[in-house]
Each structure stands twice: as structure tokens, then as C-alpha cells.
Point group: C3
């Protein structure tokens, strides 16, 4: 937390919230409700649960929902407490940019354009003809190859690799070990069963405010560009194949794999471990539940689960039924026996003892 | 694209194709059909679709199938246009090797044998007794530990790690962030429930023309060698366990996991996210569909899906049936009711109103 | 193998085994039964199989089960041959620690406390205020950021990243490419559908004797600590989300994903590719089979499979039944026809030919 305090009223204004408090306390940071202490503001996302104990609260102020009951603690009331908390927390964390320049232990190639207001750590290796805009931070061990462009305010963590001709937008965050611009997985098999490599002469473009987690991979296009659009957030260990296009403001959870040439619309949500086949189109606001495998195009707003993926509701009913399969089989066996007996009786009606 | 032009006839000869053209244009590169312009050759893999618009083609020549109709553009006719295009594209991309030598910002240990005709980038760290053959390229941030051998013409991308005693063949390509030779996951649990580590004293051997994608891992053997044979292509984020053997010319798609001591034959294909249990044998040309989990040995040529994996055809029928499970259950419930009534009637025949 | 030999009796004492041999041979290493030669000890975990050929054994001694038959080779008899072999193998592999100090090609920041008895390789980058205890080994290309603590005897492989404020215990092993302390995947979506980042001000704590495989990720907590407790072993490419707690002596196989805020007890076992949803509690000794997806809390000792995960026994029966689904559907169709006919007959009894 930084030292400069902020008035409760100042924070409320920041998030368009309504203050209900007798005083206007000075606050120095945001914390979760359990750990927040004097001088800190905390937040409660829901209504107070049974276990909610007002006397246990040490925070000097709270962010709560508009509907939250009156409590003897200064509060900011908002529509979305979690959102307001994130914005207020960011305001506490945002420090003025301090440029450390280019470390003497970094290596920068020929004909690069590097703004003077940057922080490039020891052990960073930068190729030729690289452009790095102002307020870019590059951590130790990152490798930026030839002809890469990194936009203003982007943050590149340790041991990230940006391969040649990658285009990184503004305020992009790339976490450690992530690889942008590796060759796509493209081969043609000859008569002898050998796999002939397709040269990959395309690149990767990552637009403003995209964030990509640790040890993820985005492959370059065979021709053209693999493109991740503004505001999309990608978790750890995600694989994005060559020539994929991902729309704006998508959420892609950890360990997802997206095969080559697939196109996602805007605001698409992919749960953890989802697999998307190649050459598909997923419309805006499509939601895919965790572990699903999508093998067909999906209309705007579709919500799907399972493999092959089907409408989520339908899958839920089938998945529940799945557990009852063994009972179903024995029941059908029993029915078969009964029906055979019934038929027996009808052919020879003198017999009358039917198994029930 | 390089500057030297190639005659259409020259390219046709390269792929054993038949030229049908009035002139023999000079070509300077290969592009996809949408972007190819004057002086470039493009390719069409299939027959011309409805949308195929000859007037939209800007390319100076095309690679097409033998059966492709006559068009007023110079063409090379071949059996496999995609294959011919890959080979022709490679011929355009292949530049004469330029050795930049060992960067002054690289570190090379004791008693290494490094050919003079190599390119070793800044930030590369090489251990002791390492052998690096001619025309090897090692990108920035790669770490090559003691007693590693890298064969002629191999290409090692940024931030790759080769651990001690790894053997890399000729013309191998290893993409960024990949780790070769990490310890296998081998422990023995004692009476107290603690896991005692088995030392891993084996190594990894990767044969000629193997390519491995970004952020993949190949673990070293407990004893002996984890072995990936000639021509096998592995995608991103694949895990290959200790003591695994992978045959020649296999295709292993992204995010596959292969457990310890399993053996794959030649020309095996594993779809994305496939899991293979340990100590199994998969015969030549086995194909495993995406997301499947293989828990038993597979005969040569087997095609399997699902978890546990079963013959693909069988799985397809079961997966379709799965969606109808809820209806099936209500139908059986209805049958049960009908049968009960029928039996009722037979015991007391005076009643005659049967639910239908 | 090191040069100093060990008497068979010495090794037996080490593992509390009983020697049955006429002499007390000097041994120089441990190998697997196929490769062990003169001067080496090997181990046999089970009873001798049919194929067991005593004459093929070149090892000078064997570790076998107490029940193992008498053979004309010096043996150590123990309860768990695999465990004894691991311990004996460790004793051969353990060399006295040799401190190479801090490489002149490493970079160490301000105000660090680094023990003099360490080995820090070329290309290692260490930030400010880092504490590194005695007998720590850090391999090339590893990045240790500000305020990290690394405990005594820990081993950090090449290209590992430890982000700020990470706490590493004693005798921890972190394999190449692993990232500890990347931001958790935490966003709040605003009315416009944009995802606002939650600052992640927590850290990661990894306790003594934990081992983590290659290219795995452990995210830092939003607030507080993501915590992996003593003795837990984690394989390659595992994702551990923010605020997760993993108990002691757990086994987590490759490519597992654990979502945010989930808590695992002690001795939990997660098979390969398992997915665990967020905010769950898994009790001590829970076992989750490979590829399962856990969506609910699990009692101590539960053994579950499938997605959504259910008791393993139940899942096995359902998974078997799944393959018979298509037959079941046609059988039900046939029953429906028969029942309809039976009812037909009862209404019009003069007809008597019933399909059987």
C-alpha cells in the first residue's frame, strides 16, 4: 500500500458510490474483510450472512451493496461492490511510473526504437529493429526477437518470449514463461508417411488491455495473423493455435486449447480445460462450460457443455441420467423377462402365474 | 521472401508437377490464395468451390490438383497441391546458412566442442562438455546443461532448457519454453505416507527431424532413455513422461499427456488433449481422437475415442445415444407402467381399459 | 555413480533389511535389473515372474521382498523393495555439497542475504532483498524477483521464475520453466462487459520437501497466501490457482488444474489431467482418478471419477454401461413394439400371432 491517504468521500466519487457515514475517514489501502484493519477499507459482495459479525470488523470503512442494512461502520454503497473494490484497490496500487531505463545487463540489438521512459531489467535480450514505447516494463530473462513492437504501458514478466514480428498493443500484460509467435503446428504428410513442415510466415497481433497468464502459447499464423482483440483475458497454460482470431473482452480460463483457424466473437467465455476444434466460428457471448469439447459452430449466446458439446441444459440432464445407466439396464432386462412371459401366457392362456 | 526468382517450370520440376501455361513466369514467393499477388504463386487444395472467383486471383501462378479445370492462369498440376505448396514454400524460405558464431553475451562452459559454423545468441548459457554440431542455431535465453549433444542443423528457440546428457539429433526443432530432460515423476511412498524420490539417472534422446512445440516437457528416464524417434512432430504444451518411447513419424497434438514407460509405434496420431496411461503399448498407425483417455494396449491401426477409449465407431454411436438418455429413462418408466397394467388385466381379465 | 563402494551389509542396515548372502560384496551403484552389472545392486519389486531368468542377472546383489525365494545371488530382504531401492539409490547419488558460489555472469540486486555456501549459475538474475540460505543451487536462466526467500538445500532448475515475495522452504525442488507467484486470474466485469483486474497483493508459500515439475504454475493469492504444504509432489504442467491451499504429502499428477480458493487436505492424490473447481474442500486422502472433474466438496477418503465426479465404483459401472447404450436403445424400441402388440391383442383377443 502507498502512503498517501484518500478520504472515503474521494473513493466514493471514484466509483459513483453513496457514502453513509458520520465522519469521512482517511484510508490507506484496501484489504479483504478478514484481514482489513484500521485505516483500511474492505468490501462485502453479498448480503450479510448468518455468520456476519459486525463486531469482528476492524476495517475503518466498507464497500457494500445498496441494499445492505445500516451498520455502525462508514460505508460506500454501490451497485457492484466487487467492481467498486477492484477499482478502488487499483487506485491504491497505481504508483507513478518510475523508469529505470535499460539495464547494463540487458542486450539490445541494432536499429531499435526504445523510448527513454522504460524499465528493462537485467538479462533481457532484445533483437534488431524492435520498437518499445513509453512506460513499458520488461522483466528479467524476457526475450524479444527481431521486428517486435511493444505498445505503451505494457508489462512483460520474466522469461516471456516474443518471437519475430509479434505486435503487442498498449497496456498488455504477459505473465512469465508465455510464448508469443511460435510456429503453428502445420504439416503435410507425403506418400511415405513423412510430415513436411509448412513454413509459418505470418505473425501474432495482441491488442490493447489483453492479459495472458503464465506458460501460455499463442502460435503465429501460417500466412496472415493470429489475432487476440482488445480486453480479452487469458489464464495460465492456454494454447492458441495458428490463425485463430479471438474477439474483444473474452474470458479464457486455464488449460484451454483452441485449434487452428477458429474464430471467437466478443465476450466469449471458455471454462477451464475446454477444447475447441479447428476452423470453427463461435458467436458473441458464447459460453462453454469447463472440460467441454466444441466440435461445431456455435450461434451467438449459445451455452454448451460436454463432448461433443451440446446445449448446457440438455447435457446436465444427460450427465445426471448417466449415473443411473446401470439401474436402467437391469430394469430393461426385467421388463424383457416380464413381456416374454406375458406373450407366453397369451399363446397358452391356461397358464396364469405371471412374474410381477 | 528472398529476392532470387524461380521459373514456374523450375518449381514444377521440384515437386514433379505438370505445367500448363503459355509462358513460364518468374516467381518470388508463395502466398495463400487470398493474399498472393503479382510475382507470387498460390495453391488451391480442393476443387473450385461455388465461391471460387477466377477474376479475384492476383497470383501469377497456382498449384492445383490434376483434376482441376482449365483456367486462364499458369498452373502446376500435382497429386497433392498442399504437399507441393509446402515443398515449394520451403524452397523459397530456405536461405543459405549464415553463421554469426558465439555471441560475446553467451556463456560456454569447459571442454565443449562447438563447431565454428554456428549461431549462438546473446544470453545463451552452455554447460561443460557440450557438443554442438555445424549449422546449429541457438536463440537467446536457451540453457544447455552439461554433457548435452546437439546434432547438425538443429534449431533451438528462446528459453528452451536442455538438461544434462540430453541427446538431440540432426535438423531437430525445439520451440520456446520447452524443457527436455526434467526428472520423471517417480516416488515411492513409505509407511508414514511420505513420498521418497527415485533418483532419475537416465536421459532423453531425440532423433533427427523431430519437432517439438512451445512449453512442452519430455522427462528423463529413471534408468535408460526416454526416446523420441525420427520425424515425429509434437505440438505445444505436451507432456511426455519418463521412459516413454515414441516411434517414427508420429503426430502428437497440443496438450497431450503420455504417462511413464508407455511405447508408441510409428505413425501414431494423438489428437489434442489426449491422455495415455502408463506402461501401455500402442501399435503402428494407432489413431486416438481428441480428448480420449487410453487405458489399455492398442493393436496396430486401431482408431479409438472416449474415456476409457473404445473403437471410434462404437464411441460415436454411444456419444449420440448419450444425449437421448433422459428420454430413454422416461420411456422405460412408461413401459414399466404399461406392462404392470397388462399383467394386472391378465390376472383380472374383466378389466379391459389398458393405458396406451 | 560415485567411486566410494558400500558393503551389502551397510546398505541393508540403511533400509533395515536382512542380508542373505555368503559374502558381503562391495557395491558401487544401483541399476534396474536389466542393466545392472558387476559391482551394482538391482531390485525386484514383485515375485519372480515366469520370464524371470536367474542366469540373466549380472548384478552383484539384489533387493527383494521378504517372501522372495532363495536364489544364488546375494540379496537384501525388505518389506518394500521399491522403497528400499529408492533409499539406497539416493545414498549412492548423494554427493557432498560443492559450493561454486555466485557466477560472475549472474546478477544479484541490492540488500540481498546470500549464504556463502551456494551455487548460483551464469545467467541467474536475482532482485533486491532476496534471502538465499546455505546449500541452495540455482541453475542458469532462473529469475528470482524482489523479496523472495529460498530455504536451505533447495534446488532451482533452469529458467524457473520466482515472482516477488515468494517463500520457498527447505529442500524444495523446482523444475525448469515453472512459474511461482504469477497473478491469479481475477477480474470483475463491468456494465459494459469489460473485465476490471483485481490487484493481486498476496504471495505464494511453498513448504519443505515440496517438488514441482516442469512448466507448472502456482498463482499468488489475491490477498493472503497460496500455500503448498510439506512433502507434496507436483508433476509437470500443473496449474494451481490463486488462494489454493494444498495439504501435506499430496501427489498431483501432470496437467492437473486446481481453481482458485480450493483447499486440499493431506495425502490427497489427483490423477493426470484432473480438474478441480474453485472454492471446494477435499478431505484428507481423497483420491481423484485421471481426467475427472470435481465440482463438489469431497469427504475424507473419498475415491471419485468422471465429470461431474462421482464415487469411482459407481462411475466404473456407468462407464461400462455407456458402451452398451446403442443396444439398450434398440432393445427398448423392440420392447415398446411388443408391448403395443400385446395391448392390441388384449383389446381384440381374436388376433393371436404375437411378434416374439
Amino acid at each position: 500500500m502507498d502512503v498517501r491517504g484518500r478520504k472515503l468521500s474521494e473513493l466514493a466519487a471514484l466509483v459513483g458510490g453513496v457514502v453513509s457515514a458520520d465522519e469521512d475517514p482517511e484510508l490507506y489501502g484496501l484489504m479483504d474483510i478478514e484481514s482489513a484493519g484500521v485505516g483500511e477499507i474492505a468490501f462485502i459482495t453479498g448480503a450479510p450472512g448468518k455468520e456476519f459479525d459486525i463486531s469482528a470488523i476492524r476495517a475503518s470503512a466498507l464497500i457494500v451493496a445498496k441494499s445492505f442494512p445500516e451498520i455502525p461502520v462508514p460505508v460506500i454503497r454501490v451497485d457492484q461492490p466487487a467492481l467498486a473494490a477492484a477499482l478502488i484497490h487499483q487506485s491504491f496500487c497505481n504508483k507513478p511510473f518510475v523508469a529505470t531505463g535499460i539495464s547494463t545487463h540487458a542486450v539490445v540489438g541494432k536499429d531499435c526504437l526504445v523510448d527513454h521512459e522504460v524499465s528493462i531489467a537485467p538479462g533481457v535480450i532484445i533483437g534488431d529493429r524492435v520498437h518499445i514505447a513509453r512506460q513499458v516494463v520488461i522483466h528479467a530473462g524476457a526475450v524479444i526477437e527481431d521486428d517486435v513492437v511493444v505498445g505503451e504501458g505494457s508489462l512483460i514478466y520474466p522469461n516471456v518470449t516474443l518471437l519475430c514480428r509479434t505486435e503487442i498493443g498498449k497496456r498488455v500484460i504477459l505473465h512469465s514463461g508465455t510464448v508469443i509467435g511460435s510456429d503453428g503446428f502445420g504439416f503435410v504428410t507425403d506418400h511415405a508417411g513423412r510430415h513436411v513442415k509448412r513454413p509459418h510466415v505470418g505473425n501474432v497481433r495482441i491488442d490493447d488491455e489483453v492479459e495472458i497468464g503464465a506458460n501460455s502459447c499463442v502460435d503465429r499464423a501460417t500466412f496472415g495473423t493470429t489475432w487476440i482483440k482488445r480486453g480479452t483475458k487469458i489464464d495460465n497454460q492456454v494454447h492458441v493455435g495458428h490463425n485463430v482470431t479471438i474477439g474483444e473482452d473474452c474470458i479464457i480460463v486455464a488449460q484451454v486449447g483452441i485449434s487452428g483457424s477458429t474464430e471467437l466473437g466478443n465476450n466469449v467465455v471458455l471454462g477451464g480445460k475446454v477444447a475447441i476444434a479447428g476452423h470453427l466460428k463461435l458467436g458473441n457471448r458464447v459460453m462453454v462450460a469447463s472440460k467441454a469439447g466444441v466440435t461445431t459452430n456455435q450461434e451467438e449466446g449459445a451455452v454448451v457443455s460436454g463432448f461433443p458439446a451440446i446445449p448446457h441444459r440438455k447435457w446436465l440432464r444427460a450427465a445426471t441420467a448417466f449415473q443411473r445407466l446401470p439401474d436402467l439396464i437391469s430394469e430393461v432386462r426385467h421388463l424383457r423377462k416380464q413381456v416374454a412371459e406375458v406373450i407366453e401366457k397369451m399363446v397358452a392362456p391356461e397358464k396364469r402365474d405371471v412374474d410381477r
